[in-house]
Every structure is written in structure tokens, then in C-alpha cells.
């Protein structure tokens, strides 16, 4: 491994340590078996999201994984250098011209050229990390998905679509905040999906979103404000307080 590779691995370790990121599969296995190439998609609540997924990938997969990041945030100055040089990010113009923006919000479709560009990344054999909500949420709920995920999966049916649930990252660096506060987070790699033959966009997107919604409910530490005390947590086993 060369110097760049080593420093990438150390950076990945650093990001994982800071985010307190625990990696598991949906079945609780700490060593996920991931496909060579994949479309990773995840819920989005923080600028740390793509860094954390990137950091959680094994070295050989990490080299070929390209996070899709918004040009309006990551496309200038130091951030651009970071995103492109270190993380090999694929920058997209998420708003486009006002006309495409209008169209996008009406139909849930991203501007055309971008899907083509991302499809080229897949055709070249690389993986993508995308956030189909299109923008960061509050960390508790997951917005409706844009259509890009379906279009990519449909164009490249041979590439598995891997749902990744990110829990608690929105609490480390919520939308609008500058200083990240350490919490323990969880990165859950769920079982891969494929577009079924003849499956329509809304059905696939609903299915893909449901995986994240269910998984997040399981792993997110609640951010309630004391008004749902009746909802007693399901408790499998007693606290392990006395295990010296």
C-alpha cells in the first residue's frame, strides 16, 4: 500500500473513531459481506454522512466507491479539494437551472445529465454512495426519495443496491451547525436490493425507503423530549451492569 493509501486508511480510522461509528449488518453481524460493486444509498442528516460510509468500507471497496456530493456545498475551495482528491467524490449540481429545479421538485426527478454521469461511474466499474432524499433531514424522519436511485438501478440491474442506515450522525453535526459534537453512531449495512422485472419507480422507491425507515427506528437513539414515556422500550435482556 502506498503513502496515499495508508494516509487514506488512517483518515478513515480517524473519522470512524470520531463518529464513534459501529458497523453492523441488519442481522447484527459486525463484519458485513459487501459486493464488489454497489449502489450504496443512505438516509441523510449530516455533512458527515458520506465521510462515515466511506470510512466504514473495507480498503479494497473504499478505493472504488465514489460519494455523490452537492456541488453547491462541496464544489468550492478547500472543500472541493477534499471531496475530489481524497474521497474521489462525484459532484452534482443539485439545483441546476431554475427550470430544471422546478421540474425536479414537481416530479421528484434529478436533472437528466446527472443520472447519465452517475451511470457512467457505474459503467466504469466504480460504486456510488448516494442520498436519495436529496437534502439533509432532521435525523429522525426520512423524506421521500428522488427518482435517481431507481433510474440508476434500472440502468445497471447487475449492480446490487445496498441500503445503508446511518443512526445518530444527525446528532453529531445537525443541519446548520458548524462544530461537530461526538456521539456514538451506527452504520448498518442492510441486505442488497434489486429492481424486480417490470417494477415501477414508485414501488421500488417505496420499498427502498421502507428498509431505511424500519432500520432507523431500530438503531436511532431516541431524541424524544420526555413526552412519550408510555412507549416503554422493548427490552430483550437486562442491563449488563454487573459484568466485571
Amino acid at each position: 500500500m502506498n503513502v496515499a493509501g495508508l494516509s487514506r486508511r488512517s483518515l478513515a480510522k480517524l473519522i470512524s473513531a470520531f463518529a464513534g461509528a459501529r458497523v453492523v449488518t441488519a442481522h447484527g453481524d459486525p463484519t458485513p459481506q459487501l459486493p464488489e460493486q454497489a449502489i450504496y444509498y443512505a438516509n441523510h442528516s449530516s455533512h458527515l454522512d458520506f465521510l462515515t460510509i466511506w470510512a466504514a468500507l473495507p480498503a479494497d471497496l473504499q478505493k472504488r466507491a465514489r460519494p455523490v456530493a452537492a456541488k453547491d456545498y462541496w464544489g468550492t475551495g478547500l472543500r472541493k479539494a477534499f471531496a475530489e482528491q481524497i474521497f474521489n467524490a462525484y459532484l452534482v449540481d443539485r439545483h441546476g437551472s431554475s427550470r430544471t429545479r422546478q421540474r425536479a421538485s414537481d416530479s421528484g426527478v434529478s436533472p437528466k445529465g446527472q443520472i447519465a454521469g452517475m451511470a457512467e461511474v457505474l459503467a466504469a466499474g466504480d460504486s456510488l454512495i448516494i442520498f436519495p432524499e436529496g437534502t439533509r433531514g432532521d435525523g429522525e424522519s426520512i423524506a421521500q426519495f428522488h427518482g435517481g436511485l431507481y433510474k440508476l438501478a434500472n440502468r445497471h440491474p447487475e449492480v446490487p443496491v445496498v441500503p445503508v442506515t446511518l443512526a445518530n450522525l444527525g446528532r453529531i453535526l445537525p443541519k446548520g451547525e458548524v462544530v461537530p459534537v461526538p456521539h456514538l453512531s451506527t452504520v448498518v449495512f442492510c441486505d442488497p436490493l434489486h429492481v424486480a422485472p417490470d417494477e415501477e419507480q414508485p414501488s421500488f422507491l417505496a420499498r427502498a425507503r421502507r428498509v431505511l425507515v424500519d432500520c432507523l427506528a431500530e438503531h436511532q437513539d431516541t431524541i424524544d423530549h420526555g413526552d412519550d414515556d408510555d412507549a416503554a422500550p422493548a427490552l430483550g435482556s437486562p442491563p449488563g451492569g454487573d459484568r466485571p
Binding site: V181, L184, S237, P239, G240, D242, R243
Partner: protein, 330 residues
């Protein structure tokens, strides 16, 4: 050999650590034998993991004490921050609390530990219970989110008291010998490391007694435990485990009197107080975990859980042990 010394360690501290190593060698040997007789079950795997983690923790404590008071204080600052991270993860805080959490994590612990390092006893004892206590809710009120305000403010202060204030009383023992020998006036503003080997003895005494009590309570509870103390909190904490564990750890403390400035009787009494407080700490943390529906605070220490799962008893024991020693001996 008698005037051998490295950092805060002298030959007596080394003897004590040697004793701990002997116990760990025995524990590792027993685990290995059990593994050969029963086979690689998950219980044996977990037991080995835990013993290996003990080896690391003992090596770490020995290393930082050899490196001196400053490094030991830095280790406990790091432990406080890791504990704080575990604690706020399970706390019901929201986005409106973010700016307060920045103060809570990045500023207040560092300032508090700096007062500790300065041997500025007055500020060390009042900074968190007075100044941080008043400042944090005020800052949070400015952020404007009122929903669940009292609960959020109380949780944040509680996290700070337990993870930072209480834990910091363990490294504070290192400076106590100055006040014990020269008086409280002279201790104020003395240099880091002035507590010398006696300070390290106090810290090792507390750590061995409290953590030993945890282990012994577990062993007694597993072998004889029948009557749970608080079944709704933790069915594993039994009267048999509590009484057997506390009494045997008290005997252990009395047997270690030679390393402390105490008489055997006083060493037993202080060990008893520390063990009872340690039990209370474990019980309180179990109640919190049960309320939040989690089994462990984290997974930092393999086999043990999170930092808070290991330090729960020390949190409650350290401040009381510190003040008892300061009251009777300084």
C-alpha cells in the same frame, strides 16, 4: 530497591501492581483451562475477552502513573470525554441543545481538568457544581427551545457531574498527600507530581478495592446469589453477591493497609464505604440503562461494554473516598 522510583511509582506500588499481575495470570490460566475442558463457548470467549481487557487496563494505569501526574490527568480527561460521549448518546437531547453540547464536551471538561492540574482545589470543587450548573441552562435558554427544557437541562448537568466531576476525583487523589503532609494551605497551587508515590498509592488502593469489589460481587452473586436487591432494575444484583462482595473487598482493602497512610481498621472502613458507594453507582447506571432500553453504554472495552459500564462504580466511590480521606487526614 527501596528507593527505586519511576514517575509516581515506587517499589511498594510496583509490588502492588505485581500482585495484580499475579491475579491476572491466575485468571488467564483458569480461563484457558476452562476453555480446554468445556470448549470454545461464547461464555468462555467473553471471559477471555474480559480478562484480556483487564490486562490492558492495568498496563495503561501502570504506564500513566510511571509517566507522572500530568499524563495520568490527561488519561482521566480522555476517559471523561469518552464517558460523556456515551452518556449524551443515550440522553434525550435534541437539535436545540447542540450549542450547549459544544460547551459541555469541548470547553468545560478541559477547564475543569486544568483546575485539577493546577491543584487549585477551590475552583476544582466549585467550577462544575456552581458555574457550569448556572451557565449551561442559561445558554440553552438563549437557544430558544423550551420543550422538555427542565429535563434536558437536568440531563446535561447530570452527565457532567457523573462523567467529568465525579470521575475527576480519582486523579485528584494524586495531589491529596500534599494536603495530608503540609496542610491544606500549602497544597493550594502546589506543582503537579508533588503528591508523589503516596498519591499513586491512594489511587491504586481505590481502583483495586472498587474494581475488586465489582469482580467479587459478580463471583459471589453467580455462585450463591438468590435474592435480588432490586429485581426491576437488575435481576443480577443479589443480596448474597452484595454482602459477600463488599465484605471480601473490605477485607482486601484492610489487607492493603500497608500501602496507605491508614491504620488497618481505617483502611477497612474506607474500603467499606467505597464498595458500598461503588455498588450504588452500578445500581444507578443499571436503572438508567434499563430506562433507555439499552444493555451497555457502548462497546469501547471488548467484553465489558462501554467506558461507563466499567467506571460506573468508580464514579460514585471516588468523590466520597476523596472527601473522606481529605476530611480525616488533611
Amino acid at each position: 530497591m527501596s528507593d527505586w522510583g519511576l514517575g509516581l511509582l515506587d517499589s511498594s506500588a510496583l509490588k502492588l501492581l505485581g500482585g495484580v499481575v499475579v491475579v491476572l495470570v491466575l485468571a488467564s490460566a483458569i480461563a484457558w483451562l476452562l476453555g480446554r475442558r468445556i470448549g470454545p463457548t461464547s461464555t468462555i470467549g467473553n471471559l477471555k475477552q474480559r480478562i484480556n481487557a483487564w490486562w490492558l487496563m492495568v498496563a495503561l494505569i501502570g504506564a500513566v502513573l510511571a509517566a507522572g501526574e500530568t499524563v495520568t490527568i490527561l488519561l482521566f480527561l480522555l476517559l471523561s470525554l469518552l464517558a460523556l460521549r456515551e452518556f449524551i448518546t443515550i440522553s434525550p437531547t435534541g437539535r436545540g441543545d447542540h450549542k450547549v453540547l459544544v460547551w459541555l464536551v469541548f470547553i468545560i471538561p478541559a477547564v475543569h481538568y486544568w483546575f485539577l492540574w493546577e491543584h487549585w482545589y477551590g475552583m476544582f470543587s466549585v467550577f462544575i457544581p456552581v458555574y457550569a450548573f448556572l451557565f449551561l441552562p442559561a445558554r440553552n435558554a438563549l437557544a430558544g427551545q423550551t420543550k422538555g427544557f427542565l429535563q434536558r437541562a437536568a440531563t446535561i448537568q447530570w452527565a457532567l457531574m457523573v462523567c467529568v466531576y465525579a470521575i475527576s476525583h480519582a486523579p485528584a487523589l494524586l495531589q491529596l498527600p500534599v494536603a495530608m503532609e503540609l496542610g491544606r494551605e500549602a497544597a493550594e497551587g502546589s506543582s503537579p507530581g508533588d503528591g508523589g508515590a503516596t498519591g499513586a498509592h491512594l489511587l491504586l488502593f481505590l481502583l483495586i478495592v472498587v474494581q475488586g469489589s465489582d469482580v467479587l460481587q459478580y463471583v459471589w452473586g453467580k455462585t450463591l446469589g438468590k435474592h435480588p436487591i432490586a429485581p426491576s432494575v437488575s435481576p443480577n444484583k443479589t443480596w448474597e453477591g452484595f454482602i459477600g462482595g463488599v465484605l471480601s473487598a473490605t477485607a482486601l482493602g484492610a489487607a492493603l493497609w500497608w500501602i496507605t497512610p491508614f491504620t488497618p481498621l481505617m483502611a477497612a472502613l474506607l474500603a467499606l464505604i467505597s464498595c458500598v458507594m461503588g455498588f450504588a453507582g452500578g445500581l444507578v447506571m443499571s436503572a438508567i440503562k434499563r430506562d433507555r432500553g439499552i444493555k451497555d453504554f457502548g462497546s469501547t472495552i471488548p467484553g465489558h461494554g462501554g467506558i461507563m459500564d466499567r467506571l460506573d462504580s468508580l464514579c460514585f466511590a471516588a468523590p466520597v473516598f476523596f472527601h473522606a480521606v481529605r476530611f480525616f487526614y488533611a
